[in-house]
């Protein structure tokens, strides 16, 4: 077994990317993810990799576009305001079907907001964010170890589907230190015969492009993209459920919030309340069917987020009216205490369900 090391979340992502074979990183500093950029600056030259501090997030994501188009495993990272600036490039990468990994260590918004943890980029990440009909695979880990595992997975999924993959963390996860283990990675980039590498002995040029001026051609491209997204929805759903079998109230939370909610759940159990936890790990594709099944047998769902209510919309869609869906959220970088969530559980119980 590999040795456990104590690492900050942000740095663990960087090391995991290197383990996954990423040798190109383009970024721009922003709190609370800057340690990741700094880590790559330190580590990349030591593994014969490329670290480049771009002049902006716009440039960074376009460097990613170039490097991905040229066949490399490549990553960029940012936090909310910077992630907004990357949306143009992400839409182009999705259109040109370029595998790349984009990390967003979320903070409070809108605008400059704060540098405290937030989860209010959920809509932007899971519903497109940039222009056009496209989807990113969105993974939301809840521990430093899971940040590592999900980062390696992200590179594989990106290559497998030729699609951008987002890792959605938050300021708390990025900054916290936990013991992690880096397993020897089986991850390996496949051959990329489509990449722009110089023609060498190829007879036809490779073109990386998202422009289709003919309506028929663009519709065909979009239909093909949607078919790919359907396949991802079928194959790449990830979630965790705890004590949902006999639960009357199931909490729904992801990322750092799921850990607070878990403590509250344990207290509620001790006090005789039948409470469970459902944690989406893939936010897109959203584990809709699994949640639908839970909604069919529980009395109520309670979604907890560091936002004014974003994922709760997907939870309501999944519940599809089978049980009431309640919401509890804090913004501004305030992480509710387990006691606050526990109190919310008690209040929600009183409101009742079906």
């Amino acid at each position: 077994m590999a040795e456990k090391v104590l690492m900050k979340g942000n740095e663990a992502i960087g090391e995991a990317a290197i383990v996954a074979g990423c040798r190109h990183y383009f970024g721009y500093p922003i709190t609370p993810q800057t340690e990741l950029t700094e880590y790559m600056a330190k580590r990349m030259p030591l593994v014969n990799g490329v670290f480049l501090q771009a002049e902006s997030e716009v440039a960074a994501i376009n460097m990613v576009y170039g490097a991905a188009g040229a066949g490399a495993r490549v990553m960029t990272s940012s936090s909310s305001p910077g992630f907004s600036l990357k949306q143009e490039g992400i839409s182009y990468a999705a259109g040109a079907e370029l595998p790349c990994v984009i990390v967003n260590v979320m903070r409070g918004g809108p605008g400059l907001g704060s540098i405290q943890p937030g989860q209010a980029d959920y809509f932007q990440s899971t519903k497109g964010g940039g222009h056009g009909d496209y989807r990113n695979i969105v993974l939301a880990p809840n521990s430093v170890q899971e940040l590592v595992d999900v980062t390696v997975l992200a590179f594989d999924l990106a290559d497998q589907y030729r699609n951008p993959v987002l890792i959605l963390g938050d300021g708390a996860l990025g900054q916290m230190m936990e013991p992690v283990e880096f397993k020897a990675s089986q991850s390996k980039a496949p051959e990329k015969p489509w990449a722009a590498t110089g023609m060498k002995k190829r007879s036809q040029p490779n073109v990386i492009n998202s422009l289709y001026l003919q309506p028929d051609a663009l519709e065909k491209h979009n239909i093909r993209l949607q078919e790919k997204y359907s396949l991802i929805q079928k194959n790449e759903i990830r979630y965790e459920q705890l004590m949902t079998e006999d639960a009357e109230l199931v909490l729904v939370a992801y990322g750092i919030t799921s850990r607070i909610v878990r403590s509250a759940m344990e207290k509620a159990r001790k006090n005789g309340m039948k409470v469970g936890l459902f944690r989406p790990i893939s936010l897109w594709p959203f584990p809709e069917e699994a949640l639908q099944r839970i909604a069919s047998r529980v009395k109520m769902l309670l979604t907890v987020e560091l936002s004014a209510g974003q994922m709760v919309e997907d939870v309501r869609l999944a519940a599809n009216g089978q049980c009431p869906v309640y919401f509890f959220g804090r913004t501004g970088g305030i992480i509710p205490s387990p006691q606050a969530v526990y109190d919310q559980i008690v209040t929600t119980y009183k409101k009742g369900g079906k």
Binding site: H24, F26, V50, L52, A54, E55, S56, V58, A59, A60, N62, M63, V64, Y65, G66, A67, A68, G69, A70, G71, A72, V74, E88, G89, Y92, A96, A196, T197, G198, M199, K200, K201, P205, N206, V207, I208, N209, S210, L211
Partner: protein
Amino acid sequence: MAEVLFARPKALLDVPFHYCPGCHHGIIHRLVAEVIDELGVGEITIGVAPVGCSVLAYEYFNCDMLEAAHGRAPAVATGVKRVHPDAVVFTYQGDGDLAAIGCAEIVHAAARGEKITTVFVNNAIYGMTGGQMAPTTLIDQVTNTSPYGRKSAEAGLPIRMCEMLSTLDGAKYITRVAINNAVNMAKAKAAIKKAFELQLSGAGFSMVEVLSTCPTNWGMTPLEASDWLEKNMIPYYPLGVYKSPEGGSK
């Protein structure tokens, strides 16, 4: 046997251009392709196309190409070059693309001394979107968004990119050429060739600004347009070498 004196460059695919009659984009494509052939680098060349009239450049060049977002070609080319340091990487960009929306990307690619070559087509107007003002539009020049002529009080003065970029240490070869007559065309080709050669030697960033026409949006015949370029553009945008390893000639 008959000797072939004139043929399509190998680095151009055998497809008709979509450019307007008399537009210089076609000529500039051909010059770039001839240079690629003469240097024998077609198999290691990777081009980055812009947004603008030359958005379809990837349909014409017989080399690997990437289509970039508006203005972002230098950043995309940076990503490509960092993956394939031995490739010849060039961007082909209009003046709206390079001097307006993509101004930061070109300045920083030059400042980093990114080992890429930029072919910068300055026609003093936005062609593709139908003739709006560009950062390079001349004072008093009428465009769809400067219908009373460009006024410096509102719109500022035209940007001279060669002058600006040649102040950056990372820029190794910065030159301005024109396509208005055969002599200048030959000079333009020599400049593009030198820029590619310098890239191959690993020198640093190179840019060839090509003054060119947009007869359609200028509302002129091709000949009138060439004349207008000579009389109006060259005095504001002087031709010559702004920076080279041997020093500038301006």
